[in-house]
């Protein structure tokens, strides 16, 4: 009798078990990420002097850590190649991108346009990341939260933010 091997993967519509492609396996990706970050850290730390064990230079600890991180990355990668556990659920790239844009735009506009315009952009962009976008709700929410932010941060904590920056 042929021995059945336990294969992890997604079951296709025809009922066949499909082996998860390596690049969709969470451990493969995690391993690659650790290897990548460890590699960059090691390469960058080559510029800092290593010193000796008795007199550790600024490069000592980072290089040791980078090597350890790469080792853990290798182990994770190898295990991922064997087990092929897929990433759970879908990737939420769209909400992630919108939130990043919302936060970054806020930082950019804070000095250039003032707190209120920055917050308006933040609310409209991040609300877009949700499942439902109801214009009227977003307007009310933005207005209420702008007032609250002004009350807490500007009046309450006394932070020196201009609500609006008049260009010119």
């Amino acid at each position: 009798m042929p021995r059945l091997r336990r294969v992890r993967g997604t079951v296709s519509r025809t009922g066949l078990v499909m082996r998860t492609p390596a690049l969709q396996s969470k451990d493969v990706l995690a391993g690659l990420l650790f290897l990548f970050v460890g590699g960059i850290a090691f390469y960058t730390a080559l510029d800092y002097s290593f010193g000796t064990v008795a007199r550790m230079g600024p490069g000592f600890f980072p290089r040791v850590l980078a090597v350890v991180l790469m080792l853990f990355g290798l182990v994770t990668l190898a295990r991922g190649l064997v087990s092929r556990d897929p990433v759970h659920g879908r990737w939420g790239w769209a909400p992630l991108a919108l939130l990043v844009v919302a936060i970054t735009a806020f930082g950019y506009l804070m000095e250039r346009a003032g707190m209120i315009p920055a917050l308006v952009v933040l609310f409209v962009t991040s609300a877009w990341a949700g499942h439902e976008f109801r214009m009227r709700e977003v307007v009310v929410l933005t207005a209420v939260m702008c007032l609250m932010a002004t009350a807490v941060f500007v009046w309450g904590l006394g932070l020196p933010y201009r609500l609006f920056v008049v260009p010119g």
Partner: protein, 496 residues
């Protein structure tokens, strides 16, 4: 000890500190009760608000936020079956069943009473053991500290939920992130990539908010929200006599279990709540009732996670070694306030240490006296749709980070950390070890360097000093205990 406690109460009962305690507890509950917002996100979000206060007030308020958020988390667990954090996962099991049977009120009350009792015991334990541990730790040299941190980090990684190798990798990643910025000893900028603002390192709130809050929001947005709220059925709060009597022993046992686990580095509330629940189930006369609304299944884990939440302050305050991600946030807040955590805190800042301990008790009392009667209001908050909540959380995160240095760079970095946090969450790499490593990174390097300077480069110093050796042996044991069963299982799989 009594003298010290009296002084602590003197500090904590001052009008301003009392007000900050109340504010923290209320804010913590308010935000913690919101669905999809756990204590970590709550603390990370509110952290910047406390930075303007003096250290004692800031810490008192943070502690208040912490209990408030935990309490709010149990409320969501019982009423919506939605654990705000891993510690209240267990409360969901029986708490939600009680709510479905119309006994949400008693479940909430027992959870508050159990937490209060555990809080009192926890406070006493801190007051007793904190100073002892602190005194002992005064004898620690650099080698002992290094080994202790190693033990703390390894046990935190090993005991975290999820894969051990990935958790350990996350610790190392966190240590590396912690090194970003100017090196104190050589003055060289490390990993700053010529960005001027990185010279001071990556800000603590930037990490906390990015890794926890932003990542969690995106994870929540992946799937549509669906929940069932028992908003009108909280009913009578007072538990019946039988329910009270049935809860007494579980509360005491839960407190014991929680107090023990809380003190160990890396365990914290979730493991304690789980162990307490399993213990109750094991010794119950009819274990079948568990999972169908057994009051013991609410009382024990709730007492346990609160006891652990309290005793977790012991290693954090006396040794400067946080046991959990939440404690790492508290520790980070201390460092930002200019206080170097460690055994010297008790002698150099006695009013801070004892004031905090006293305010812990006051905060717990406030939770029972003020928040329990207000449960109707909290329940109404549960119905706030997530689409209103998350943009507001984003606002607090962005504004909070901006307000630290009034610099947009912190805001950009926070967005970047959000991406990293989300990717790591998707790949099931636990974020808590990362934060712990990040907080301890610079300290660990400094102690390693110092130990090796003193020993003239002889690494044997770590095994020659008995206390350091004990920590290293404990680290090895923890690793062995976790690795051996995994290996045996792998062998078994290969054999059949």
């Amino acid at each position: 000890m009594l003298e010290n406690l009296a002084m602590g109460f003197g500090v904590a009962l001052s009008l301003t500190n009392l007000a900050y305690c109340l504010l923290g507890v209320t804010l913590g509950t308010l935000i913690g009760v919101l669905p999809g917002v756990g204590p970590l996100v709550t603390i990370a979000m509110l952290l910047p608000i406390t930075f303007g206060l003096d250290p004692t007030a800031a810490l008192i308020m943070l502690a208040g936020i912490y209990y408030g958020a935990q309490y709010g988390g149990s409320t969501t667990a019982i009423l919506v079956n939605l654990p705000g954090e891993t510690a209240s996962v267990v409360t969901c099991i029986d708490g939600y069943q009680m709510a479905r049977k119309g006994r949400a009120g008693p479940a909430l009350a027992i959870s508050a009473i159990g937490s209060f009792f555990a809080g009192c015991v926890g406070t006493l334990l801190i007051a007793t053991f904190g100073p002892l541990l602190g005194e002992w730790a005064l004898e620690f040299g650099a080698a002992e500290y290094f080994s202790l941190m190693l033990m703390g980090l390894v046990s935190a990684a090993v005991l975290a939920h999820g894969d051990m190798v990935k958790s350990l990798a996350m610790v190392v990643l966190g240590l590396l992130v912690g090194l970003v910025g100017a090196d104190v000893n050589s003055g060289i900028d490390r990993f700053t990539f010529d960005v001027l603002e990185l010279t001071d390192g990556i800000g603590f709130t930037v990490m906390a908010v990015g890794i926890f809050a932003v990542a969690e929001i995106v994870t929540n947005l992946e799937h549509r929200e669906s929940r069932e709220v028992f908003s009108r059925e909280v009913g009578r709060l007072m538990p019946s006599r039988e329910e009270l009597v049935a809860s007494i022993k579980p509360i005491i046992r839960g407190t014991g279990v929680g107090a023990f686990f809380g003190m160990l580095p890396g365990t914290g509330p979730s493991i304690s709540a789980f162990s307490a629940y399993m213990l109750e189930k094991k010794i119950a006369r009819d274990p079948d009732r568990f999972g169908r609304g057994a009051i013991e299944g609410v009382a024990a884990p709730e007492a346990s996670n609160n006891a652990a939440a309290q005793t977790a302050f012991i290693p954090t305050l006396t040794l400067g070694i946080p046991g959990s991600a939440t404690m790492a946030l508290v520790l980070g807040a201390l460092i930002i306030q200019g206080i170097q955590p460690g055994p010297q805190v008790m002698s150099s800042n006695p009013e801070l240490f004892w004031g905090l301990i006293a305010s812990m008790w006051i905060g717990n009392a406030m939770l029972v006296a003020l928040n329990l009667p207000m449960v109707g209001l909290w329940v109404r908050l549960l119905t706030v749709p997530y689409r209103w909540l998350f943009p507001s959380i984003v606002m607090f995160c962005a504004l909070g980070n901006y307000s630290l240095n009034n610099s947009p760079v912190d805001v950009y970095l926070c967005a970047g950390m959000g991406v990293l946090g989300y990717v790591l969450a998707k790949l099931e790499c636990p974020p808590a070890p990362l934060i712990l490593g990040y907080v301890l990174g610079p300290l660990m390097e400094e102690n390693l360097r110092r130990a090796l300077i003193i020993s003239r480069g002889d690494p044997a110093v770590f095994v020659e000093r008995p206390i350091s050796l004990a920590f290293l042996v404990a680290t090895a044991l923890i690793l062995a205990v976790m690795i051996l069963p995994a290996m045996r299982r792998a062998k078994g799989e290969a054999g059949d």
